[in-house]
Amino acid sequence: MSSLIPGHTTHTEHRSTPLSDRKLLMWIFLASDCMFFAALIGTYLVYNGRSLVGPYPTDILDIPLTTVSTFVLLMSSFLMVLALHAIRMNDIPKFRLWTLGVAFFGSIFLGFQVYEFSHFIYEGLTLQQNLFGSTFFTLTGTHGVHVTIGVLWLLSLLIISYVRPMTSQDALSVEIAGLYWHFVDIVWIVIFTAVYLVEFI
C-alpha cells in the first residue's frame, strides 16, 4: 500500500496527525455504504403502505423480539470497543474474549433474523408477495449479509491471533474491522426506527 494522500510523505509539517490509508479507505467505503442503505431504506419507506395484499407490516412485525435483537447488536458494538481497547493495551487474552463475544452476539442477531424471516415466510410474506415483502426482505436481508460478513471478518481476526503472535501493531486491523462492525450497528439503529417502531405509532 502506498500513500494516496498528496504531500503525505514529503510535507509532514502540513499535517497534524498522519492518516492511515486503510482506515481512510474504510471510511470512504462506509460513506458509500451509507448511500447504498439510504436507497434501500428510502425505497422501503416510499412503498410503505402501498401493498395491495397482506401480510401487512403491523400484522407480523414483532417489536419486543426486535428490541431484544437490537439490544444484542448494540452490546456487540460495546464488546467491539472493548476488544479494540484490549489489543491496544496488548492484552491478547481479553482481545480474544471480547472478539469472540462480538462474533457470538452478531450470530445471535443473525439467529433472530433467520427466525424472523422463516416466521414471515410461514405467515405468507415472501419476497414476491407484495411491496412490503420485496422491500423489507431486500433491506433487512442486505443488512443481514453485512452482519454475516462482519462475523466472518472478526472470526478470521480471532483465528489470526492463534496463528501468529498479535501485538498492539495489529490494532489498526482490529480498528478497521470495528469501524465496519459499528457501521452495521448504526444502520440497524436506523432500520429499527424506520421499519419497525414507526409502523406501530
Binding site: 496527525t17 498522519p18 492518516l19 458494538s77 450497528d185 417502531l197 414507526v198
Partner: protein, 389 residues
C-alpha cells in the same frame, strides 16, 4: 495483506497516544455509553409498546419526532465514541459526513418524489379528524380542479410504474366483448356470456344456490324508481329506449364529476386503464361492466363497498376470470368517492347503458356504508352472495 507502511504505524501511535491522552478511563466511559445506548433502546421500545398507557399525553407526531431524535442520538453516540470519529482525523469525518449528506438527501428526494405526487392525487389516510372533515367540503372544489390537472400529468408516470404490458388491441376487444345491454338481451346465443339476465336465471333455477340477500337501501329516495324497476327486471332497458329518452342517464351525466375524474386518473387508471378497459386476467374492465353492477340488485351498495373496502379473490366477468386485488380507497372523502363513481358511470359509453332517470351517487350514499367496515374478503363474499355479473 500488504505489509504495513510506516505511515500506518505512525497512525497507530498517533491514535493510541491521543486516546490515552484524553480518555484515561476509557473502559468506564465505554460502559457509560453502552448503558446510555441500552437505555435509549428501551425508551424507544416503551414509547411504541406503552404508547396508550404511559405516554397518553404525547400525540402520534410527538412520538414520531421523539423516535427520530432518539435514533439520531444513538447514531451519533456510536459514530462519535465507538467509532472514535470525535478526536480522529478530520478527513475521516469529512468523507463520512459527505456520504451521510448524500444519503440523507437521497432519502428526502425519494420521499419527496412520492409524497408530492400523492398529495396531489390523494389525501393522506390520517384525515379522519372532524376538523378535516369539515374543511373537506370547502376544499373539494379547488382540490378537484387541482386533481384533474395533476391526474393527466401523473397518468403517464403511473402507467410505467406498473410494468404491465399495455395490450392495446386486447383492450379494444374487451370493450367490444363487454356485455352491453343490447348484447345481453339480443343474444343469449352470444359467446360472451353470463350477464345479468343469464346469471339471475341460472340462480333462480339452481336449487342449492344461496338465497339472494337484499341489503337495506338507505338511499331509496333518489333511486327509488330505478331500483324498483331493476328488481322487477334485472336487465337494463334496451339501449334504444334510453337513447330515445334523450340523453342516457341524464342525471349522472349532469353530475359534477371533475373531482372523480382526478381521483380516477390519479389512482384507478394505472390498473383499470384511462379507457376503463382494464387488463385481462387481472383488472376488470369498467367500461361496459360498471353499468351491469350499477343496475343489479344491491349493486349500488356493492359499488360503494367495493371502493371503500377493496376486493380480493377471483371473479368471473363475461366468462373471463380476473384475479387482481382492488385496494381499499376509504381515505378519500365521501364526495370524492361518489364523484368517482359518477365519473366512471358516465364515461366510456357507460351512461348509454343506464336509464335516464338513474340517480347519481351522493356523498350520503357513501357515508352510509362507512360503518360497515368490511374486509376485502367480505366484499368478495358480498359479491358472490349477490351473484353480481
Amino acid at each position: 495483506m500488504a505489509k504495513k507502511t510506516s505511515n500506518d504505524h505512525a497512525a497507530d501511535h498517533a491514535a493510541s497516544s491521543s486516546e490515552n491522552h484524553h480518555e484515561g478511563s476509557s473502559v468506564g466511559f465505554y460502559i457509560f455509553i453502552a448503558l446510555v445506548l441500552g437505555a435509549i433502546t428501551y425508551l424507544e421500545f416503551a414509547l411504541v409498546e406503552y404508547q396508550d398507557t404511559w405516554f397518553t399525553a404525547l400525540s402520534n407526531l410527538w412520538i414520531l419526532v421523539l423516535l427520530v431524535v432518539l435514533s439520531v442520538v444513538k447514531f451519533i453516540l456510536v459514530v462519535m465514541f465507538f467509532m472514535h470519529l470525535k478526536g480522529d482525523h478530520r478527513t475521516f469525518a469529512g468523507f463520512f459526513s459527505s456520504g451521510m449528506a448524500i444519503a440523507v438527501g437521497t432519502l428526502f428526494a425519494l420521499s419527496a418524489l412520492f409524497t408530492v405526487r400523492s398529495l396531489a392525487t390523494a389525501q393522506t389516510p390520517q384525515q379522519e379528524g372532524a376538523g378535516v372533515a369539515e374543511a373537506q367540503g370547502q376544499e373539494a372544489e379547488e382540490h378537484g380542479a387541482e386533481q384533474s390537472e395533476q391526474g393527466t400529468e401523473t397518468e403517464a408516470s403511473l402507467a410505467h410504474r406498473f410494468e404491465y404490458p399495455a395490450p392495446k388491441t386486447l383492450n379494444v376487444d374487451i370493450i367490444d366483448l363487454g356485455p352491453r345491454p343490447q348484447l345481453v338481451r339480443g343474444g343469449a346465443n352470444s359467446a360472451t356470456v353470463q350477464t345479468d339476465a343469464g346469471n339471475s336465471q341460472t340462480a333462480s333455477s339452481r336449487p342449492g344456490g344461496p338465497p339472494p340477500i337484499t341489503l337495506p337501501d338507505p338511499f331509496a329516495q333518489g333511486a327509488g324508481g330505478a331500483a324498483g324497476q331493476n328488481a322487477a327486471q334485472p336487465a337494463a332497458p334496451p339501449a334504444g329506449e334510453a337513447q330515445a329518452a334523450g340523453g342516457a342517464a341524464a342525471l349522472l351525466v349532469d353530475a359534477d364529476t371533475s373531482a372523480g375524474e382526478g381521483v380516477y386518473n390519479g389512482n384507478c387508471a394505472s390498473c383499470h386503464q384511462a379507457t376503463g378497459a382494464g387488463v385481462p386476467g387481472a383488472f376488470p374492465p369498467i367500461a361496459g361492466h360498471a353499468p351491469e353492477l350499477a343496475l343489479a340488485e344491491g349493486g349500488r351498495e356493492y359499488l360503494v363497498n367495493l371502493l371503500l373496502y377493496g376486493l380480493q379473490g377471483e371473479i368471473q366477468i363475461s366468462g373471463q376470470a380476473y384475479n387482481g386485488a382492488m385496494p381499499a380507497w376509504a381515505q378519500f372523502s365521501d364526495d370524492e368517492l361518489a364523484s368517482t363513481l359518477n365519473y366512471v358511470l358516465s364515461s366510456w359509453g357507460n351512461a348509454e347503458a343506464l336509464p335516464p332517470e338513474y340517480a347519481a351517487f351522493t356523498a350520503d350514499e357513501v357515508a352510509a356504508q362507512r360503518d360497515a367496515a368490511l374486509s376485502t374478503a367480505e366484499v368478495y363474499e358480498l359479491r358472490q352472495t349477490l351473484e353480481l355479473p
